[in-house]
Structures are given as C-alpha cells and as structure tokens.
Subunit: 231 residues, 2 copies
C-alpha cells in the first residue's frame, strides 16, 4: 500500500512540481495549504486546482491569520518591491519574508503527518534561485528534521521516523520547470505573483515573477501565466 506523505502546497510553481515528483515516487499525497492572510490569495485557488488535477488523497486548506503578528509585506499593508535586479533579489532578505513561515508550515504538516501515520513531509524549498529566506536552506531543513524526530510520539517510538523531502533544494528554476514539464505539469494552473491584479494577472515585476520568468527563459519554454502588461 502506498505510504502517506504530507505535502505543503502553495499553488505556486515549486510546490506544484513537488506534487508531481512525490506522486511519481508513489506517495499517497495529503496536500496542506495554509491560508495565512497572504494578499496573493489567488494562490489558494491555484492550490485547489492543482490538488484536483493530481487527484490527491486529501487536501486541507487551513486558515491561520498571521496578520495578528504583522511584520511582512505579504500580510501587512507595505508595498511589494518591484523591478529589483537579480543581484538585489539574491542579496538581502526582502520585506516579503514572512517571519518563521516554513517553521510554522512544517510544524503544522508534522501535526497532520502524525494523525495520518506518516513521517514523510514534502516542502518545495529552493536554496538556489531563491529570495534569501533563511528557512529555505539545507542546514535549516536538517536541524528541523533532527528536532522533529524528538517531537512526535511516532518518531520517538521508532514507528514513524520523520524525513523532510526537499527534492527541489539544489535545482535552478529552469531545471524545476523542465522536470515538471517532463512529468506533465500544467504551469498555467500555478501562480507565483505576490501582487496580481483583480483579474488574477501577474505583475511581472515582483521578485517572484522575475524568478519565474527567468526560470522559463532558462528552460527555453513559454510561461503560460497571464501577465498584466503582456496580454
């Protein structure tokens, strides 16, 4: 019987590719989408579409209002930075950083994993073409896994050792897009933009859009996403 895995699905390019990879590895996917008051809420709808397309075993959209804490352009009324160069994007930790986001998301996934008799967690972190978030790095993931193996009943009893799967961590955006395309991912269903317009069209200028466009360019493929300036 297929093993359950909890997979953090944002509805973006990375986590959708991750879903295709985990399914190709034979896991029974329990997709977890966190509705954390992000202003790019269109991601949630993209996640629902992706979950249906892959016919995942379960999809939970968990509301948790991180706006209670404030402190990020993704959840506060701080303007999303636009038109930054790649060096700027890859240099400093940006204002779009959500405090402890991956720590919080992995912890919620860990809680669900235990109730699903699973120790397998998938997260689409990427330490190569990324935005400088500390919680996307391999050393963070390793420390998280060590902690998680001391945290849960299943792990402590040796029944369910926790393994954090990060197959995208060393891939470029172009490599991720090529891998997903080979697995049949329809990137038209995914959303990356931090600041889409009311029609859901991407801005093309925020860090996330720029990394996405660079990835498609590297992969030599067309991005099926609708953009504000180009359609």
């Amino acid at each position: 019987m297929a093993k359950n895995a909890i997979l953090l699905l944002s509805g973006g390019l990375d986590s959708t590719t991750l879903t295709a990879m985990a399914q190709a590895q034979g896991f029974n996917i329990c997709a977890l989408t966190i509705d954390y008051g992000q202003r790019h809420n269109i991601e949630i709808e993209a996640a629902r579409t992706v979950a249906r397309t892959f016919d995942v075993a379960r999809h939970v959209v968990l509301p948790i209002d991180l706006r209670a804490f404030g402190g990020s352009a993704l959840t506060d009324n701080i303007p999303v930075p636009k038109g930054r160069t790649n060096d700027e994007i890859e240099g400093a930790i940006p204002i779009t950083y959500v405090p402890a986001r991956n720590t919080i998301f992995l912890s919620l996934a860990l809680g669900w994993a235990e109730t699903m008799d699973s120790g397998d967690l998938f997260i689409g972190v990427n330490a190569r073409d990324y935005s400088g978030y500390p919680d996307c790095r391999g050393e963070f993931i390793q420390a998280y896994e060590t902690m998680a193996n001391l945290a849960t009943q299943g792990a402590v009893e040796g029944r369910l050792p926790v393994k954090i799967h990060t197959p995208l961590i060393d891939m470029t955006k172009g490599e991720i897009i090529r891998a997903g395309t080979a697995l049949g991912v329809d990137y038209g269903q995914t959303r990356s933009c931090y600041d889409p317009d009311d029609a859901g069209r991407a801005c093309g200028e925020c860090d996330s859009c720029q990394l996405r466009l660079k990835g498609f360019s590297e992969a030599g493929l067309a991005d099926p996403t609708p953009y504000q300036d180009r359609n």
Copy 2:
C-alpha cells in the same frame, strides 16, 4: 528598556506560574494563547484573566483549528480518560496528546518574536510531573532552539539569537505551586481540567486534574479551583 519575550500562555497552572517568573526576571511579556479547538475552552478565558492580572504588554489569542487534522481526545470526540493511577499517567503517552502541539506553538511564538524584535521564548513545559508527551523533554527543547537559530532573519544575522526559556522543566508540580505562590500567583484564576462541566468546575479525575491535586497536596496548600464533586 525591558526586553520583549513571547510567552505561551494556556491559562493553566504552569504557564501562569511561568508568567510570574518571566515578569520577575524583568521581561516585557507578549502572551500568546492558541485557540486550537480544544474542548477545555474555558482555558482561553482563564488566559485572558491571567493576562489582565499581570498587565502584560500584549496578549494575542490566535485561532487555529487543529480539528482539521483530528487525532486527539482534546480535539476529537474521544472520551477523556478518567481515574487513572499515577503510574498509568506517567507511563504511556496518552490519547489527550495533541500531535506536534508544542512544535506548532513554539513556531507561532517564533514568528511573533521576530516581529517584536525578540529572541526570547517562554514555554511552561515540565518533564517531571508530566503526561509523557515527547515534546516536553529537554532534548526536544534543545533541538528546537538549534533549529530556530537557523530559521529566522534575526537569528541568522546575529541580532536576535533565539533562547527557549523553560524554567519549570525540572520542577515538581508542588515546587511550581510554591514558587508561584511566593510570586503572588492567584491559582484560583488558572484552569487545568481537560473536561470541565458547563459551570467551569473541574472534573477532578482526568490526568491534568490529578497532577494538579497532587501538586497542591505536595505544596501543602489548598487548591482554590472549584471541583464538581467537592463544592
């Protein structure tokens, strides 16, 4: 100026004593109460009362519905075990265990800490008179602290190293109650019972009530909590 600290406040005996201790150490307390769909919801009201009594700097009650995952007598419709002996309580991990609870709670505290320019987290875990939860042990806390120092912008930049304060971890319940009493804690404001009646009176028989009663007995003090059978 006093340093901010994020303190996980359930409204129970341990976290209320913890609040008194952190305040005595001079911290500016930001109390975080998680409303996770627990059925002993009276705890939330106790937490509000305690927060007011200590005049904390901020108190956030964050709703997060862990019932979406299921798997615990505290959030599912599974009967709370009653009348267990101390050996039974201290032996196995009980059904009232909430999967990855402290991992989730500390992660939320970590997110808030970063927005409050704080690296100091207080949690009232206790590895002595406890219910066998793996995420109450010192080795879990140490691994969590290591992970947290790789997770946040402030820690990675060296500005806000994360320290998890667990002053109760090696104390017996009796010692905790004596320490809190010396600091002026009014234990009549705290609630411990997993299964109170509609009037908020404690059952006196669940694991949490039994540990509490044993603690007051050890401390040689009367428990001001209203109990169902005794009032």
